[in-house]
């Protein structure tokens, strides 16, 4: 047992013991599940005599979480030992994760699914703490609604959420993304033959990437109206430069030997481009596609803060914030998060298929 594990075990047992002692003053029937969990928690101190498996800690964490979740609303007001039980459950979760990660091979991401368990445990514990803290702590809904309420809101407003998704993602983001990336790619190919244009445009392209380009949104809204074309225009501008800069860098990524080789074959410009330089540029182009997937979504949502028809994810977020319908805002953010990571994930899958040969993909 490492020092940290030793310490954690001791604190966890201590918290359980203290909470159990506090809970014993209440009638026996109230919070029976909590008391059971706390008693088991105290029992876990036995590990200093008799080693306990790490899965016992995992089960105790799970039991604690369940006990705390079920006991919400049993008490008014919430007694201190309830919060201590929450802390104890969290500590058991930590102990479990700490011990599990010690048993896994360091730096190896897979470990047959066990490696995946740890971030899942972390995510779940955040959700549980969030749920318990907001509901048992009576946090006003306008400040932070519990996850269960957000989920209820999501299931109850599927048509609205889908309409917003369609307006923002399927129209503005996808169309803008395809046009912006395509344009950046084509311009990169066009200026590739001119060192003068390259040395003129590249520093500007790099510079632009540091600028708050979303700020062009009001101008685009003025030029192209309230509907999705103005958002697509913002997305085009935001995605154009990363694609341009990365493609130009990628086209120069082939080594001198590889280019000399093409020269010994007396290969023409287009042959060299198609057979050597574009394949070699693949990892760079996909890098831009990945960066742009996030930028596109940000651009479209923020552009909607400047005016939209009455539909769209950014529109919904800004108006529902104004009406203090915070659960709807969170629902919309959840949709945006899922859309964003799925979008990104799809591009990563394509990248793995196309640039399978690159060391970064081979190693993964």
């Amino acid at each position: 047992m490492s020092q940290l594990q030793y310490f954690l075990s001791l604190v966890t047992g201590g918290v359980c013991a203290a909470a159990l002692a506090l809970s014993l003053v209440t009638p026996f029937e109230t919070g029976l599940l909590l008391k059971t969990f706390l008693a088991l928690g105290v029992l876990s101190l036995i590990r200093f005599i008799l080693p306990l498996g790490l899965w016992i800690d995992g089960i105790l964490a799970l039991l604690g979480a369940a006990a705390v979740l079920i006991s919400i609303g049993v008490f008014t007001p919430t007694p201190p030992y309830f919060w201590m039980a929450l802390v104890a459950a969290w500590l058991f979760g930590w102990l479990f994760v700490e011990r599990l990660s010690k048993t896994l091979a360091p730096r190896l991401s897979d470990n047959g699914g066990l490696g995946l368990l740890i971030p899942v445990v972390f995510g779940l514990s955040i959700l549980v703490i969030w749920e318990v803290a907001t509901r048992a702590g009576n946090v006003p809904q306008v400040i932070l609604p519990p996850p269960s309420m957000i989920w209820a809101r999501i299931t109850a407003s599927v048509p609205t959420l889908f309409a917003d998704f369609q307006q923002t993602f399927l129209k503005a983001v996808l169309i803008g993304y395809v046009l912006g990336c395509g344009l950046g790619f084509v311009v990169a190919i066009l200026i590739d033959r001119s060192p003068f244009l390259k040395s003129g445009l590249l520093p500007l392209g790099n510079f632009v990437s540091a600028l708050p380009i979303v700020g062009v949104a009001p101008i685009m809204v003025m030029w192209f109206g309230f509907d999705w074309p103005s958002k697509a225009a913002v997305v085009i501008i935001m995605t154009f430069f990363p694609m341009l800069v990365n493609t130009v860098a990628g086209l120069n990524a082939s080594s001198a030997i590889e280019r000399d080789l093409m020269r010994t074959y007396a290969a023409g410009y287009w042959q060299t481009l198609m057979k050597l330089r574009l394949p070699a540029a693949g990892p760079f182009i996909f890098n831009a596609l990945k960066i742009n997937s996030t930028l596109a979504l940000i651009g479209a949502i923020v552009a909607e803060f400047f005016g939209t028809p009455i539909v769209g994810m950014g529109f919904r977020i800004s108006t529902e914030v104004g009406r203090m319908n915070v659960d709807m805002v969170w629902a919309e953010i959840a949709v945006a998060a899922v859309a964003g990571s799925v979008f990104y994930g799809v591009i990563v899958l394509i990248e793995r298929a196309v640039t399978f040969w690159h060391p970064s993909v081979r190693g993964a």
């Binding site: 080594s255 000399d260 080789l261 020269r263 007396a266 290969a267 057979k275 690159h358």
Partner: protein
């Protein structure tokens, strides 16, 4: 310049202009390489041996003198695909399988699909890589990768093979093996080979002619005709004849006296 001259250089010079002043990479190089010869270029770093090879390949342009490949300018020779070039690194494209890498020059030169398949099979046999056609370069060892790059240079049947320290990055054991294979390949294909190396045993073992070069300015200090038989088992390297040539090469390198004075 005889009718058999594949490469013929007269008073060839090449000067690189740099910010630190001119660097004379080649100075007054005159040399003739006949058909079917195996010529090694040996010398310390900066002696211009690689530069000379690159000049033959039209990868560098001479600043004085004349150079003819098969009686043509290097540029025309390159356009006619007169030579195959093997670089220091295999430079195989990682996104292509081994057979697709060998097919690369064939695609560029417009060979038909059936011709490509036939040539791939033949050259893969020649370098003993049959069975590895569908592998990717990064799945092969360094020696196998370099063999694949030789197959790629042989695929389009150029009569001249230019090799720039092709085995320099490989370990001694693999290198010995590839050297003897290269000799067999040379005997089988009757090609003219120009071979740049750092290694005296390698140069003596492989060559019919050894060109000793020295730096500052890059120039030819000795040309040694080898009288070893064409059939050369690996243990020829312990014979007195072999050692005599090796001693002469070493003397030639020492005469260039570059190691002691600069570095």
């Amino acid at each position: 310049m005889g009718p058999n001259a594949v490469v013929s250089a007269q008073n060839l010079g090449l000067t690189f202009k740099t910010n630190d002043g001119d660097v004379v990479a080649l100075s007054d190089v005159s040399l003739t390489i006949d058909k079917g010869e195996f010529v090694s270029f040996i010398g310390p770093s900066g002696c211009g041996k690689t530069t000379f090879l690159r000049t033959i390949a039209d990868l560098e342009q001479p600043t004085s003198g004349t150079l003819r490949i098969n009686g043509q300018t290097p540029e025309n020779a390159r356009r006619e695909r007169a030579y195959g070039y093997v670089f220091q690194a295999p430079a195989l494209y990682p996104w292509r399988t081994i057979e697709k890498n060998v097919a690369l020059p064939l695609e560029i030169m417009g060979y038909s699909g059936s011709q490509q398949a036939e040539r791939i099979k033949r050259t893969m046999d020649l370098v003993n890589l049959s069975g590895f056609e569908k592998k990717y370069p990064w799945q092969l060892s360094g020696g196998m990768q370099q063999r694949a790059s030789i197959a790629r240079a042989l695929a389009f049947d150029a009569d001249l093979l230019l090799m720039d320290e092709p085995f320099g990055a490989l370990d001694e054991i693999v290198r010995d093996h590839l050297n003897s294979e290269l000799l067999k390949l040379w005997a089988a294909t009757q090609k003219t080979i120009c071979f740049v190396t750092h290694s005296i045993p390698e140069a003596v073992y492989l060559s019919t002619k050894i060109v000793v070069m020295s730096p500052r300015p890059g120039r030819v200090t000795d040309v040694i005709e080898s009288d070893l038989p064409r059939e050369r088992p690996l243990d020829i390297r312990e014979t007195p004849e072999f050692l005599a040539i090796a001693v002469r090469v070493r003397d030639g390198l020492r005469a260039g006296h570059s190691y002691e004075e600069h570095v």
